[in-house]
Amino acid sequence: MDADVDDELQFHLDMRARDYEARGLPSPDAREAAAERFGDVQGIGGALRAHDRRRERERQRKEYMSDLTNDLRYGLRAFGRAPAFTTVALLTIALGIGATTAIFSVVNGVILRPLPYAEPDRIVQVWMDNRRMGLKEDLHSWPNWADLREQNQVFSSMAAYAPGGFNITAGCRETECEPRRVAAAYATADLFEVLRIAPAMGRAFTPQETEPGRDGVVVISQGLWTDFFGADRNIIGRTVRLNGRERTVIGVMPPAVAFPSRDTDVWVPLAFSQEEKQFRSSFGLWAVARLKPGVEFSRAVTDLTTIGRRLEQQYAENRDLGVYLVPLPEQVVGRTVRTSLWVMLAAVGAVLLIACANVANLMLSRAAVREREISVRVALGAARTRLIRQLLTESVLLAVIGAALGVGLAWVGLRVLTGLAPADIPRLDQVRIDLRVLGVALGLAVVTGIAFGLAPALQSSRAAVGNALREGIRGGTSGRRAQRLRRTLVAAQIALVVVLLTGAGLLVRSFVRLQRVDLGFRPDNLLTMRLSLPGAKYGTPESRMGFFDALLDRTRQLPGVQGAAFIEDIFLTATPTSTNFAIDGREMTEEERGIEVPLDAVSSDYFRVMGIPLREGRTFTAADNRTAPPVVIVNENMARRFWPNERAVGKRFKYGSADSQAPFMTIVGVVADMRRTGFDAPVRYETFRPHTQRTVGSLTLVVRAAGDPLRLVPSIRAQLKSIDPDQPVFEVASMDQLLGSMVAQRRFSMALLGTFAALALVLGIIGVYGVTAYLVAQRTREVGVRLALGARPAQVVGMVVRQGMFVAGAGLAVGLAAAAAAGRLMTGLLYGVSPHDAWTLAAVTVVIGVATLAANWLPALRAAHVDPLTALRSE
């Protein structure tokens, strides 16, 4: 092209020079004059070349666009001519892309979308690494936190906080409202700096307000402001009553702030007294910090670890206590949720691949039908690349339409999904179909369109070129190469199905194992609810005991109640209030001195109501009162560990270390172990005190009902109201609900993966069936010949099935190997089942065997029963 410009200009110059020569100028002068007359040869040449290039680009673009519109129009017409194929293909793609899009939006919302704070990945959760108890995420004491805050070089701010709960009573306007329980956080003023959030209205609290006496202020959440205070514009400065204490509202948080937990509604100053700030062995504080600009997370780890080690040497209380840092985003969405979401995404990706393989096979079958049409195009001069492009355009078009349907499916699916999802999957409210999700769906469409379209396009264009040359000769799509392609696709599909089935099977096995765990008590017909008495109103042990005794008495009188009792916390959190202890008359080992037991008060018939068997001794009686000698009941696990070959009953120990002032308590009974930290956590060492000797303000009421426990709730609330109308109850739930929520995440993962595996199995079997049916149909003539030559139908069936099962077997083998590798990624989601669980693998093998056998058998049977004459006459 560029050379053309040179040629044209050179021609002009030469011609002009020739004319000059003809007029008598000598040759060199003639050339010079010609050039002079022309002017800037180089410049004009350059401009022309640029012009030509621009023109060429424009031409190519136009040609491309017109080809594209032609291809699209042609494709749409082709789809219209094959409605059955189009419908099946679209549905398959929509299912695959829809499921993938739905799961990706969950991953996007829960993991990828940043937390609603400025530079959230610069925020770090600071834990105390408790090597004594093997707890990596333990809490700080005030002095410990203060030292870390003082001495570190890496944080721009560091805050301490502790979650809590308040009974909020005053505050509603006009209408009198129910007393309500709200989740709260006590925090130092640094919290707002660390999170970099400013209240939407009013202000945050100042460091001065974290001093006792000056801390009568509260910041409330947007949610509480709207639905408890009716979005009162004059909220700032109003007084509310929290646990009986008056506080002034100074600020309202912006929406979406969910710290420390999603339901936190009030933030109050953490106001420790000077005395409390000295307790180095009272651990109850959480800590978060923000990295200084430019400081790497790893440097913070090094710095804090060094400080931790120094503190360990400095203070006896800090022995075996280190520092452990976790970036906040990782902390908020824990490892288990992350793992299960990635597993789900992988699973749904496998479903998509299976769907792709199905569509690819459909396209191959269709290509055979379209062979003539394509041959005609080749004969009319279409180049092979042009043909491939047209076929690919068609498949991408198909995929994009399918993806649009899929996004619709995903939208519906997400509603169902978030409705069914357990409440403890964090940030589920962030899940929606946003631009990023749509982008991924579109990307998936293009990639899948090429994925399922490329092989068939290459195949049929090759075939077509061949056919155009040798018309009438059968070859190509139905030929050997195409058959191999189909069989490979089928084997790959089966392999993927095997992986998914294995994953789902392992989760089901884990879940069944979990359900069979002996909880150590009778969970049926139990009702639980939490109460927390405000210290301002119930300051003395007597007043608290009076309240609880009255509540128990009245509850027991209610019809349908078989028993009522209470315990401080029916289920233990990962870090319950706990203490070490010293056994009377025994030198305890270093390791034993580090062991802590949770502090627990129970009412006298707690064990009977819960159905926890007594192994030894007795339970508490009315005689174990405030003035009687201190008594304690331990669980079997503890008795076995500390008094292995003797009776624990009658032995004495006290809380704290050997030199503590706490009184020795006599063990009066040993009860069976109960799973109190969840199904899958080991049983701890536990001690129980009579509530008469350890009176607490917060506890769980447990009621054994004759029938449905939830039906007792209104009458128990009524009793409560008659004792104290300002006292709310919260976390009202049946034991079934509590246990259900403990396994909700597992149940959800299992249901989801199960659904995908089922979907994969159905798609995979359709794939196997479709391919066998097609291949058999291609061989109708051959079968006819065999039958005519005297083959028995059973032999024909055997031949077809044998070939199909060979493919299935190859897929199964590859799938089992892949499943073994994939299983290792799932280890964190399993309970009591090895990722290579033989039963699961055997079950999957049987399912795949039976399903593929059926999918091969049916087409084979049909083939064997063709009439040989018809078969021979076909084609």
Partner: protein
């Protein structure tokens, strides 16, 4: 098409080229020579601007080009006027006549300089 007199020269060049091509297909040098001889060398085409002008005419669809052999058997690019080019030339020519006529009329009016 042409609304400013600043375009006059370029427009004039287009008219000359199109007119040259009315006589039949020609290469760039041929066009230049035809203009020279027809106007007795009064209107000398600026040769440098001839080729860019031809590209523009081609972009507008008024001429087409094709490679061929010249009278002395050399590879040369030949230009042909299109139907649209003829229409355009007609329109331009009438504008030109009116313009030239008007100027002539002004110059001939009394007091005459001639």
């Amino acid at each position: 098409m042409r609304n400013e007199t600043g375009d006059l020269l370029q427009g004039t060049l287009a008219i000359l080229i199109l007119k040259a091509l009315l006589g039949g297909t020609a290469h760039g040098y041929g066009i230049a020579r035809w203009v020279e001889t027809t106007t007795d060398d009064v209107l000398r085409i600026e040769e440098g601007s001839l080729y860019p002008a031809l590209r523009r005419l081609e972009d507008n669809g008024w001429v087409t080009s094709e490679w061929g052999l010249s009278e002395n058997n050399r590879r040369a690019r030949f230009y042909t006027i299109t139907r649209a080019g003829r229409t355009h030339l007609r329109a331009e020519a009438s504008v030109w006549f009116r313009y030239a006529g008007a100027v002539t009329q002004v110059l001939r009016s009394a007091p005459s300089i001639a």
